[in-house]
């Protein structure tokens, strides 16, 4: 008895373990606050907004189509291969099974990378098809591993008996073998479907512009904070699958109990009808989901397109919709989280973007690598709304303003929780202070982190002096035990949730976080900091240069710039837009628009050359792997 209870308790605990995070996500989908760290009351708002969110609906559609098509193709190829392998002699079969096991056992990261390398090697543009091929590749083994055992169980003589009775090979297969192995095929299909649905890593490496599955969409959002609509969508998906499973599993179980009462021996036989019934339901539901998400998405089939590559959460989606409506151009929108990531994509040319939004030093690097096309200002009359000062600052990395138009700018500073520190903070020394041990959120970005250390030590944040860099590295190493975690944009949620006292943050994020948690304060330390500018550029290999210029021009329009400012809260260089800001506090906010003294105390990043960049990378890795 005690044993039984212990067992039940154990199972219960394991299921709590497995399903606790899912419960959390479901709760979050009803959370009024956008932040993961705070309960802002119950709302159904996200469910409503979900269906209006084009990006998420697009991602859902892509995910489902991808999963369905890859699972279907994998099922066909895999089943055929299983049948062939089953009739092979031992040694070729062993070799084939060995190869089958490779994608199952190989690290996803290696599979993803190897597939990316092959696509790049044959000069195949990464896009939906490349992801599809990748998914089929890792799905086939699941099908084979589900079908093979069933095939082995089938009695060879039944097939021969069918032939003997005059059936053709095809007919015999369809009527004798297929029903036997059908459950295996079906579970292979479902497994493949689920695996495709849940894959992130392989998709991450093989996807092209504008192609986002839910996984990759979420990954870009991880840094910026997940959109609550995503929780809503996941909850809907999960609940519908759960209901489906309960429905399917209820019917046959009652049937079976009755049977057991009658005779045990016959038990196994009569399942086949349900087995065919089940997949039918599943297929119908999947189809319904796809049709549903199709209704919510828009197609980008026309030739008049524009490939935009921007930071995550760095534009008001409404702006894109407006642009599309006004110009009739279809926007394919894609996001990145790091300059380096964006750079390598543009550099390989695996993906041809039309307009990209890198940071200052990366713009310089791209100019030096001859990756950018010169802008035709005749097509960008709205440049006149951009403040002269900002254009001048931009000349530091783009002499003559030939390649880039400033989009957003800001400083890097300290965000701290007034209730958790002793005195107002005004120096970088706070993040190296022993008393804030485990309460510091350090920035997880090479140039920013090294720059802070260099500034604190009184050096330039573009230092190439190895001694200075060594000193900075050592300082960061010493700091590591004090650091709670290294993050980029997650600092927002953590600070809002009172999980740390001090964080490094971009000024644009500071406005939002302070709105959510009034205890927070932002400061640009007195030692000076980084001032950065992100600007729009057009890669040389762009195929829609004119559309790209139209897009840039559109973004420079004051009303549009204002819309964006309200949404992303990053400082705009658009002086006309700033004048339109209604809220006086914000218009004069020193966070959004620091005074000239602060600005002059700050430095912009410069590109330091490949060798130096690699050196910085190595030093930063040294810190992290300490």
């Amino acid at each position: 008895m005690v044993k039984k209870i212990t067992q039940k308790l154990y199972i219960a605990l394991m299921f709590i373990f497995l399903y606790a995070p899912i419960a959390v996500l479901i709760v979050l989908s009803f959370n009024k606050s956008k932040s993961r760290a705070k309960w802002g009351g119950f709302t159904l708002q996200w469910y409503k907004e979900l269906f209006a969110n084009q990006q998420i609906m697009n991602a859902l559609y892509t995910t489902l189509v991808l999963a369905l098509v890859s699972a279907l193709v994998a099922t066909i190829i895999g089943t055929a291969a299983s049948i062939a392998m089953n009739s092979m002699r031992r040694s070729p079969r062993t070799i084939m099974m060995g190869i089958t096991n490779i994608p199952m056992l190989n690290a996803d990261i290696v599979t993803g990378i190897s597939l990316m390398l092959i696509f790049v090697a044959i000069n195949y543009t990464l896009g939906f098809t490349s992801v599809l091929i990748a998914h089929i590749t890792f799905n086939i083994p699941y099908v084979i591993l589900s079908v093979m055992p069933k095939l082995k169980q089938t009695n060879k003589s039944t097939y021969e008996a069918a032939l003997d009775l005059g059936a053709s090979h095809m007919y015999a297969f369809r009527t004798v073998i297929l029903p036997d192995i059908f459950p295996g095929i079906m579970s292979g299909f479902l497994l493949a479907f689920t695996m495709s649905l849940d894959d992130f890593i392989i998709t991450h490496f093989t996807k092209g512009p504008g192609v986002n599955t839910l996984s990759t969409k979420i990954y870009t959002e991880v840094r910026k904070g997940i959109k609550p609509e995503m929780y809503a969508l996941s909850t809907l998906l999960f609940v519908s699958v759960l209901t489906l499973l309960i429905l399917i599993n209820r019917t046959p179980s009652e049937e079976k109990i009755n049977k057991r009462l009658k005779k045990k021996a016959v038990q196994k036989e009569s399942n086949s009808k349900f087995r065919i019934f089940k997949p039918a339901i599943i297929l119908i539901v999947i189809a319904a989901l796809i049709v549903g998400s199709f209704a919510g998405m828009k197609t980008t089939s026309g030739k008049n397109t524009l490939n935009v590559y921007n930071w995550g959460e760095y534009i008001d989606p409404e702006v894109i919709t407006m642009f599309e409506k006004e110009t009739g151009i279809d926007v394919v929108y894609d996001e990145f989280e790091m300059n380096e990531e964006m750079y390598s994509k543009v550099e390989t040319g695996a993906v041809k973007y039309d307009v990209v939004c890198p940071s200052d030093y990366t713009i310089q690097r791209m100019i030096e690598a001859d990756l950018l096309a010169e802008l035709n200002y005749d097509n960008i009359p709205n440049i006149k709304y951009i403040g002269k000062d900002y254009l001048q600052s931009a000349e530091a990395f783009d002499p003559g303003n030939k390649y880039a138009i400033p989009y957003c700018w800001g400083t890097v500073g300290i965000l701290y929780n007034k209730t958790m520190v002793d005195e107002p903070i005004d120096s970088w020394s706070a993040i190296f202070d022993e008393k804030y041990k485990n309460n510091i959120l350090m920035i997880n970005s090479v140039r920013d982190a090294m720059g802070i250390a260099l500034k604190y030590l009184g050096y330039s944040l573009n230092s190439t002096d190895r001694d200075e860099l060594e000193e900075a590295t050592n300082l960061l190493k010493e700091q590591k035990p004090l650091v709670q975690s290294y993050v980029v944009d997650q600092v927002r949620d953590k600070m809002i949730g009172n999980n740390a006292a001090i964080g490094i943050i971009y000024s644009g994020e500071a406005i939002y976080t302070r709105r959510e948690n009034p205890d927070l304060e932002y400061v640009v330390p007195k030692e000076g900091s980084n001032i950065w500018i992100d600007g729009w550029v057009i890669p040389k290999n762009s195929e829609n240069k004119e559309n790209a210029e139209k897009f840039i021009n559109f973004l420079c329009r004051p009303d549009i710039a204002l819309l964006n400012f309200d949404y992303i809260t990053y400082s705009t260089p658009n002086t006309a837009a700033r004048d339109l800001i209604e809220d006086e506090d914000i218009r004069n906010s020193t966070i959004a628009f620091p005074d000239s003294a602060t600005i002059s105390n700050c430095e912009t990043f410069k590109y330091l050359g490949d060798a130096m960049t690699a050196y910085y990378d190595d030093k930063w890795r040294e810190v992290l792997s300490q």
């Binding site: 199972i11 373990f17 995070p21 990316m116 849940d198 759960l242 792997s625």
Partner: protein, 271 residues
Amino acid sequence: MNKKKWLATPYIIWMAAFIIIPLILVVYYGVTTDSGSFTLENVKNIANHDNMKALLLSLKLSLISTVICLVLAYPLAMILSKMQMNSHSFIVLIFILPMWMNFLLRTLAWQTLLEKNGVINTLLGYLGIPGIDIINTPSAIILGMVYNFLPFMVLPIYNTLIKLDLNVINAARDLGANSTQTFTKIIFPLSLPGVVSGITMVFVPALTTFVISDILGGGKILLIGNIIEQDFRSSRWNVGSGLSLVLMVFILLSMAILAKYDKDSEGTNIW
């Protein structure tokens, strides 16, 4: 019968084009420089202090997670296999079901749970129990690994256990073995193929993950997966490929072990 073999053609072509050749490409990149000349530098990179450290840490964390998974999963699989479930597929589905909630979201949810002011600590606070502080530590990464890969340990073991002939167990009891002896001498040895495939299915992804360490390690902890991912992210393909080659050695090793135990070479135990 010869006709049947042709059915494998699409598969063979597919596997050659998208598994074999890409892997050869990884090897190629791994042993060449940017300009295409032969070098072993990329592979030797693993001996570099930081990389070695990341590799050793990855090995350590993935081994620990594998052991924890095994210890948690085996009793679970045993209890489940003994239950009078009318449908085995139901059990399998219970473990696959969470996958319909995205893997990244599930891992992120753990952040919310484990955070300093997170759900668990808040609950413990109400109960007056001191909170746990494992977020951003290797323990949190282990937890994330165990959470994400536990089903891959439970299912293979469960599948071998339900296939065990009950009479074989009865026979052992009949011959005088008590429950412990029956377990160590009969049940466990017979379930070994499931255990081995479970171990591979947990160990390999745990060894190579970069997402879990990213999300739950607070960026403080670099695993070998993170390093490779960073290399590719910043276009250092040759170095990344070189390090991938090192990883592949471990993967091949576990495949060899799996092949040894799974004599039918059909991999039937995995699902």
